[in-house]
Subunit: 475 residues, 2 copies
């Protein structure tokens, strides 16, 4: 397992946040003076100051002039998490495409983007990626203009090396590189399921996955899902026992849009079910590297001994979506997936895959991830504070421990497509909940993307969305 390199000031900030979250330090409480921190922790004044600035940027404390620092916020104040979802048990094909088309049509209108599927470019290492790309042009045979048939070896080596972070032991030869994670998911689905088969998934779930499954002629069975612990194990077992599930697809860590992260014990239980019913799992771990805690969460693949887990991921959410660099470790389906890739696409983009391999080769990626995680965590707290301050009282919101999506559940009265149409007139975009299901549900929910540069404009936008939602509640 990876050990996050925690800087001293972060350690102090984390300790104090822990005290705030446990209500040892309550709202309004004065924090120790900077001098006290210096003495107690044996650190310099600059380190002490930095730790307080960190807590301030997390929205947990505030400085009052000449009086020192005070607790301004607490986890205890957070809204309740959304309810466990209870999607219909039968598959459905009620298509959210009409909603998607509206979003696409309005895409250019939004000035405050709370709907993005990737972190803001300002949070990504553009200049260093350009360097890695230039290096790839120089180093690749033929500057990468030829087919790259076997999948970039250096990239596969780096991915294999990093698998130890989630308790995996991947070998480079077990990894098939793909043009992004969707490509990997598509090849996996096509390798094990056919038109007419049923795929079991979490609900809510990223609409692209459900549309892909439908495009391939599959029935999509949405399963009850817990906002904290992910898919309900009992429901999954029942589906496997009663229905003919051909394949499961789960986003096990920081699911988009729900933010749930399956505890290790659930992941183990899922793998046991797979083995019992001989059902393959496509595990989409796109967000696993974006944990807020001290450790990267495990995966179902960590417990997979029978090879039933096809483990997919990419660098689209942490580095460069436009590079199209993803991969899959397909377990016992290696040959099938590898051939499906060859039949459908022959080769990946040689340069982009080499560039990411270059980027991963030294400490750059880990250092970038540390910064990105911290930013996303701060943003998440700020978003949650704003929701608490500005959204209707009965609003519920997820408390993800990673990733950059918040799931907001309003009173049933609030139609979030209606809310979206009002918000976009103010040039603010988010994603209505209806997108994340093939059934007629989640109409009172929405997804917010926290992968932004946090500033007053964001706070004002959330305030406005809250105001609009309050009006709909009152109507």
């Amino acid at each position: 397992m990876t050990k996050q390199k925690e800087l001293l000031y972060q350690q102090i900030a984390n300790d104090l946040e822990h005290q705030i979250s446990k209500s040892i330090l309550k709202i309004g409480d004065k924090l120790p003076s900077l001098r006290t921190i210096c003495v107690e922790k044996g650190v310099s004044l600059s380190t002490a100051t930095q730790s307080y600035l960190e807590l301030e940027s997390r929205g947990l404390i505030e400085s009052r002039s000449r009086s020192g620092y005070f607790v301004s916020y607490s986890h205890g104040q957070f809204k309740e998490v959304p309810s466990v979802t209870k999607p219909l048990k039968t598959s459905s094909s009620d298509d959210p495409q009409a909603v998607i088309d509206v979003l696409i049509k309005n895409a250019s209108k939004a000035k405050v983007l709370l709907s993005s599927g990737v972190p803001s470019v300002a949070l990504l290492p553009v200049a260093r990626l350009n360097k890695a790309m230039t290096q790839a042009m120089r180093e690749l045979p033929d500057s990468g203009i030829n087919y790259e048939r076997l999948g970039n070896l250096k990239l596969r080596q780096q991915i294999a090396r990093r698998s130890s972070f989630w308790g995996g032991e991947l070998h480079p030869d077990e990894i098939v590189t793909t043009a992004g994670c969707m490509d990997a998911l598509a090849f996996c689905v096509q390798s094990v399921a056919q038109r007419g088969d049923t795929i079991a998934v979490e609900s809510p779930l990223y609409f692209g996955i459900m549309q892909l499954a439908r495009n391939l002629g599959l029935h999509v069975m949405e399963l009850p899902t817990h906002p904290v612990t992910g898919v309900e194990i009992d429901a999954l077992e029942k589906a496997m026992r009663v229905n003919k599930i051909k394949v499961c697809l789960l986003v096990t860590n920081f699911n988009n849009p729900f933010g749930s992260c399956m505890p290790a014990s659930h992941k183990k239980a899922v793998v046991e079910l797979l083995e019992k019913y001989n059902v393959p799992l496509i595990e989409d771990d796109l967000y696993g590297d974006l944990y807020f805690g001290n450790h990267r969460p495990l995966t179902c693949k960590s417990f997979d001994e029978s090879g039933l887990v096809m483990y997919c991921s990419s660098f689209s959410k942490t580095l460069a979506a436009g590079y199209r660099v993803g991969w899959v470790a397909p377990g016992k389906f290696l040959d099938k997936v590898s051939r499906t890739k060859n039949y459908h696409s022959i080769s990946c983009n040689a340069l982009a895959h080499a560039a990411v391999a270059n980027f991963l080769e030294n400490e750059r990626y880990d250092s970038h991830l540390r910064t990105l995680r911290q930013t996303l965590y701060r943003n998440t707290l700020q978003f949650q504070r704003c929701i608490n301050d500005y959204f209707p009282a009965e609003t519920r919101v997820s408390q993800p421990q990673g990733g950059f999506h918040l799931w907001v559940e309003f009173d049933k009265k609030v139609d979030t497509i209606d809310l979206y149409n009002k918000a976009i007139q103010h040039k603010i975009s988010f994603t209505p909940g209806r997108l994340y299901t093939l059934q007629n549900q989640y109409n009172n929910c929405l997804r917010l993307s926290t992968g932004v540069i946090w500033n007053n404009k964001m706070e004002e936008a959330l305030q406005l969305v809250g105001k609009l939602a309050n009006r709909l509640c009152a109507a």
Copy 2:
């Protein structure tokens, strides 16, 4: 239609080649002296010399010291073209995967590569592509690290502009960019056909297409095909009338591996059949820009008014296969194909698509194509001469007017997998004919790739393959 910029020396060479091909100049005939050419054509001595050097590089004339230039070769000597293929009328699923696996296993052994699917890198503009890529990093918003959802506009504009070369009038909005041509073909097939449907294709045909179709659960119906004029129109009509053809896929210009190029009248006839039977056509025009004559051949899309033709191509055979830049103009299936692309892959590689767009923006691409075409034409003549000189007397060989593949048909006694196994021991690779069909046929055929740097090593390799084939004939 494009008008090839023919240089003066090429014009003279072409005129003389024409006389040679019509046997106005016969083998052994002395050519006019350089001085005569100068006077008759009103050109400089250097131009006259260059035109003779050009004919020499085409393998058509030779200089004898102190005696001048003589015709050493003639088209009249060329081997007969292969027979019209007569594949079984029923679909079949006799898989050539075992042969493919052998080729993959041996790939690194070959030193003389007569089996490559792309022209040798030495024939491609690597340095200028690197420049175009660097320019893309500089010019793209966010250096191309973000999704590129609508397909690079500049690229689509350039593709639309170039469509006039084959009598098309594409609009940028009618074009869907893809990660290479296979990606485009896969999206097209998936948009109009389902598991269990039948797809009609030429035979022989690039194995990747047939494997893709089978991977998608389609029945593949191979149609009789003429080595010069492509698929037999009568057979196609009968297939549409009698069988339930869901979709056709034709490589209309310089088909790989057969080299056939459908005459414009056949293309028109095909489009009329499509309309009569309401069957969509996936037209793969991957090699259309690599014509040897004065004009780019038309396409079925040139005659398509009902939108039934999905026109696919890429820059993999002319610029950079490793960039994965392809496209499709899906006609009336635009929405379907566009959505299938979004579901399966979300976005193309932003940088590579921008780089190719940059490369196309000025005269660079056309100038590169002119050189490439000339080289491929010369190589093709040299290959044909060697086949004539070294291969068994009864050998037949295609006479493609473009592209870089030759189809060689031996006496039935020659098993080309056997021949391959012998050749690879001498580090020479080609592709056995069995690969290009799902039926048990073409076992006495092979494909040669002419996209090489022509030199003595190539001549010696062909001589050796001929020797090995002669032995198999005698056995």
